[in-house]
């Protein structure tokens, strides 16, 4: 490695070029989105931003997106943490089965998954049929066409993004640390609180960021499970750009939301760093 690396002439980096061109095109796409958001009536202007922030109808998309995103993230992290823990500390069979099941989600078509979740949550769905058949309820529990349904749907859809990073950090932990603590008399709760939880925080933060960004970009879940009543920022951008032919305004909404998202992600990172410095 060192020999080959020492002799690294520029020419050996040529294979990297196509991938970097891909990134450049990606950045070009994002830049043209930014430029379009700043142009109105043929000149540079903040008109789109002013309109988005000042009209409560549009601003509501942002607030709703962040609220749904936060609830989804909390739910997905709690459920995902328990799953990752089970995967990391369970038997080899449990680990392989859960791993297959989690990775399977990356190979499925998202829209079929959302449709399937709708079949579980809907008024005629599995849960409500069961509740009514068991006599626990007379009328269906409202699990669709509202924020609760959208959050449940987004949790189910984004769960793998929470499970995998947490699982990775747990697998990276040295088992000897846990064993040493147990040998020294720490019970399971203490081992979890003092060793496993702090050491898995990087995975939790990484997972939370992925789930949050995923839920902000959600369009299918709000449309199918929310029934159009819980439209998030993605629905706003979609409608403005495609149905109302107003890509500049759509772009402004996307930029505002993305900025808000990155501020929240940054805040999460800072809190995480602070916590790590003072254990």
């Amino acid at each position: 490695m060192t020999d080959m690396a020492a002799a690294a002439p520029r020419g050996r980096l040529v294979p990297l070029l196509p991938a970097l061109i891909c990134t450049a095109v990606f950045i070009a796409a994002l830049s043209s989105l930014l430029v379009d958001s700043l142009v109105s009536g043929g000149t540079w202007s903040l008109q789109h931003y002013r309109r988005f922030v000042s009209d409560p109808v549009y601003f509501a998309y942002l607030l709703r997106s962040i609220r749904v995103g936060v609830f989804t993230t909390i739910g997905a992290i709690v459920v995902g943490y328990a799953m990752a823990y089970w995967m990391a500390h369970g038997s080899a069979l449990v680990r392989r089965t859960l791993l297959l099941l989690t990775i399977f989600q990356f190979f499925t078509v998202t829209i079929t998954k959302v449709y399937a979740i709708l079949l579980v949550l809907g008024n005629n769905g599995l849960i409500n049929r069961a509740l009514i058949a068991l006599g626990l309820r007379d009328t269906p529990l409202p699990l669709v066409n509202n924020e609760l349904g959208v959050v449940i749907g987004l949790i189910a859809a984004s769960l793998p993004f929470a499970v995998l990073p947490i699982f990775s950090t747990m697998m990276g932990m040295r088992m000897s640390l846990i064993e040493a603590a147990a040998t020294l008399g720490a019970n399971r709760m203490i081992v979890f609180r003092r060793i496993i939880l702090p050491l898995s925080m990087p995975g939790v933060v990484a997972g939370a960021v992925l789930v949050f960004l995923y839920s902000l970009g959600g369009l299918i879940t709000p449309a199918l499970i929310g029934g159009g009543f819980v439209d998030l920022i993605a629905s706003f951008s979609y409608e403005q750009a495609l149905l109302l032919s107003n890509p500049g305004f759509a772009a402004a909404g996307a930029v505002v939301t993305l900025s808000a998202a990155f501020l929240m992600v940054l805040g999460l990172e800072l809190v995480h760093r602070r916590l790590r410095r003072e254990p």
Partner: protein, 263 residues
């Protein structure tokens, strides 16, 4: 040692497993429902929704479009990503970490933003929309290919390649006879992964597709207006494809490594 987990944690984990598996079981069962309201459990079974799915030009043509985009973008992504993985793991250069971060950028932006950005880019430069879809799908898949193939390259000692060159093989010979056979399986695994990413993609396609959308876009359009189990029938068939894809990948590539690199 820790054996098992507490009861509330176990129930939470179980809930998660149910969230990942129950919808798929329900959708497969519903696909055989003879009724037209997609209620569970079905009162009577039939294959009529499968016939309806095959009967509709929207789904047939959408499927062909999706397949074309997936094959094209997966081929491109594997070529581009493998070359990049090679440079990133076998050549040490200043800015390597920066290059790694830069390549992962598309994964950090919500896809609705990426889709809108590509729509604006394609419209401004008057590019063909379908080419735009293939390019965008490729860009989304490249980071995954880089990570999967890099993991394989990092797990292989360079000494094999060095030995070949010491014995007089040229760079090209070494690449063809030593390196490529070592990473071939990971390239196929990465290709299947890239295929799945493109086939699943909704946000790029919905912005750039014209009169006929890709299969996910057509499914979305149908599911918004119709309540019958046709979508369940299509979903059941797609789930079968997904299972075959995952089965193949799990034979070609270590799942734990895949879990680590695809997050």
């Amino acid at each position: 040692m820790l054996r098992g987990i507490g009861i509330s944690a176990r129930m939470t984990a179980f809930l998660g497993v149910m969230m990942l598996i129950v919808p798929y079981i329900i959708v497969v069962v519903t696909s055989f429902d003879a009724g037209s309201s997609a209620a569970f459990p079905p009162a009577k079974l039939s294959l009529r929704w499968y016939l309806n799915a095959f009967d509709r030009p929207a789904f047939r043509e959408g499927f062909v479009l999706s397949l074309t985009f997936a094959v094209a973008s997966a081929s491109a992504a594997v070529t581009i990503g493998t070359a990049a993985a090679f440079a990133l793991t076998r050549v040490r250069f200043p800015g390597r970490d920066a290059a790694n971060t830069l390549l992962a950028a598309p994964l950090m932006i919500p896809q609705i933003v990426t889709g809108l950005g590509f729509l604006i880019l394609v419209t401004r430069f008057k590019l063909p929309n379908h080419a735009g879809i293939i390019v965008a799908h490729t860009i989304l898949a490249v980071p995954f290919v880089v990570r999967i193939v890099s993991a394989r390259l990092l797990a292989t000692s360079v000494s094999l390649e060095e030995a070949a060159m010491t014995l007089g093989a040229t760079r090209l010979q070494t690449l063809r006879r030593i390196t490529l056979p070592i990473i071939a399986e990971s390239m196929v695994a990465a290709g299947i992964f890239a295929f799945a990413i493109s086939f699943d993609n909704f946000y790029i396609s919905v912005f750039l597709a014209q009169t006929r959308g890709t299969l996910p876009v057509e499914i979305y359009a149908y599911a918004r207006t119709e309540g019958d189990p046709t979508i369940a029938a299509i979903s059941a068939m797609l789930i079968l494809f997904s299972a075959v894809a995952l089965g193949s990948v799990s034979r070609l590539f270590d799942l734990e490594t895949l879990a680590r690199v695809t997050r």
